[in-house]
Symmetry: C2
Subunit: 353 residues, 2 copies
């Protein structure tokens, strides 16, 4: 099977980590029967300056017509609003209907306080519909934004969460050591205040997860503020957390803090038969060009993309190589307290593939 | 000066901690020249069952016409939407225009990793306007909520944050040991996605804090997801954090996790010349009636209320007595790993007053 992968480095360290993602895919053993073709694509601040569009039409159309998946680095946002500029990754998620943002957060098994959770974030609606307006009143300006929650989007994200919980359980059952006994989905919302919107998310998720195919999955709920509290007090208790877009955004950064660095945390933006791997970190202008960015979030994002393209064996190889590098702890980038360069970390992981 | 204080225990452990709040106020030394009168008021789930209103009209009118401040315990929310029930504290904040929710989160100075921050949360708008609607579409139900941000509310909450930063600096300057060198306000938002609403919050806060009276206050910004990440990675860096309502709600629970228990964290809902102290914890049905609730969040909330009623000397007495109890660490409630009953903790703190 040949997979065509779009490469969208974006800005800043995106340009340093996406090439590492390409190299690990190319280095996968031939015995897996996978071939890759790559297409270089543009998006981000530099693209905006050069072409007037943060997400050039061409990038979208090539991804749609010509690719099986993609790797997206990171983009720099202007610090003040700039006319015509808006976040290309948010647009991409909507244009390709990548309805799930999947963010596994996990320590190595031997960590003093091991955690192993996946945050499954709805990726197309909520406040991210970006329908805003501003008006004047005698007391000054007032701005409003719409938070939109649909049964349809809530239903498919809950089903995705349930399926991920089952898949994780299957991997455990195959003998992979785990801190979890059984599959658990935690539905996060704020329906005590937002009874209609978050209420719809909650009841829809409950209904979907009550289906017979999820009979083995335990389901519980957390109000989002309490979820953040629990995330830090007893993170080991959580397996799969499902949340509307904005809470998912916040929770995944919170969870990332638990494993020590955003530089370790991957994500995948997943739709029907298409997935974009995306490290959770930003473009990090402060370390850009220094060759010290942690490539692990991107390498894991490449693996996560493969998982959702049904190449689980290939994904497992990458995860294992990354884990081996971390378990040994000899070649670590500065965000993890080490002194290794991006290139050294990549080579160490390629060697273990 | 005689202060009339409304007591609203609410449900669950609210009924165990609010009496402790009353006792510490009554126990303040006469030399402070303060007298208290108390009015018992109802709100919450039990009130709803008894009177049909979670926030009886009488409670609001007595607070408005007859009180200088109040202590609010906690209320139990139904787990599924109940017709006619909605959160009384959210309603109270709006009806009394208590526009600031102030949440100091602080360890004892001798903690291995001391932190000392205040979260200043806007308390009247954002998604808490609770303007929601639901409609049917061919693809199922869709619900929408309004997130409203006004220049007026953003402006006064930013000014409050600036003033709190200056007041904290004054206390430090008087010789109280602190981990902070100078006053810092961190403006939290998500204007990279919500350019109009959070954009308005951000620019308004920036403008207000650029005023000459805040010349000594350093101002920086954090995107809310990144703020949660930083909160856990380097909490010691933050002094005053100002945020719209929902982010403030989430951040204050996150910050509470850092000090080990919600049972330690107070809040005050502050308006013009009026303040309601409110522990950040909930009604905790699991431990209700066992006499083991941690009273400290309520005692600190009583002190915080006094601060905003310009009784700083009285507030300082309560803070010092609580800190002394925690520094010694002998009589601690179970949430802090101890075995002391509520009553024992209260008596230990009263003794130190
Ligand atoms: C850059 C920003 C628009 C984005 C988001 O909020 O989704 C980022 O925080 C993320 O989590 O991918
Ligand atoms: C109970 C709930 C409505 C409330 C809120 O969201 O404001 C609580 O979480 C708080 O922080 O006081």
């Amino acid at each position: 099977r040949t997979l065509r992968i779009g490469l969208i480095p974006g800005d800043g360290i995106g340009k340093e980590v996406i090439p590492a993602g390409r190299r690990i895919l190319e280095a996968l053993p031939a015995s897996l029967g996978l071939k890759f073709e790559f297409v270089d694509l543009r998006a981000g601040w530099e693209a905006f300056e050069q072409t007037g569009a943060a997400l050039p039409e061409e990038t979208v159309s090539i991804l749609k017509s010509d690719c099986d998946g993609a790797l997206f680095g990171a983009v720099s946002s202007p610090t003040t609003a700039v006319k015509g500029y808006s976040s290309p990754i948010v647009a991409l998620r909507k244009k390709l209907d990548l309805y799930a943002n999947v963010r596994p957060v996990k320590t190595v098994v031997s960590a003093p306080k091991p955690i192993d959770m996946v945050i499954v974030r709805e990726n197309t609606e909520d406040l991210y519909v970006k329908e805003e307006k501003t008006y004047d009143t005698p007391e000054g300006k007032v701005a409003e934004a719409i938070k939109r929650i649909s049964q349809r989007a809530s239903s498919r994200i809950a089903a995705m969460a349930g399926e991920i919980a089952l898949r994780r359980q299957k991997i455990r059952a195959s003998g992979v050591p785990s801190i979890h006994k059984g599959p658990l989905v935690t539905v996060t919302h704020k329906s005590n205040v937002l009874s209609q919107t978050d209420g719809l998310f909650r009841t829809t998720a409950r209904e979907v997860l009550a289906d017979a195919r999820f009979a083995d999955v335990a389901v519980e709920e957390q109000i989002v503020d309490s979820m953040v509290y629990k995330l830090f007090r007893q993170p080991e208790a959580y397996d799969v957390i499902v949340a509307p877009n904005l809470y998912g955004d916040i929770l995944s950064d919170g969870a990332a803090a638990l494993v020590g660095s955003l530089g370790l945390v991957p994500s995948a933006n997943v739709g029907e038969g298409f997935a974009i791997g995306e490290p959770c970190h930003g473009s990090a202008p402060d370390i850009q060009g220094m060759g010290i960015a942690n490539p692990i979030a991107t390498l894991r994002s490449a693996a996560l993309m493969l998982e959702f393209l049904n190449e689980e064996a290939a994904a497992a190889r990458i995860y294992a190589a990354v884990d081996a590098n971390l378990e040994e702890g000899r070649l670590l980038s500065p965000d993890l307290g080490g002194t290794a360069k991006t290139e050294e970390v990549v080579q160490d992981i390629l060697r273990r593939l």
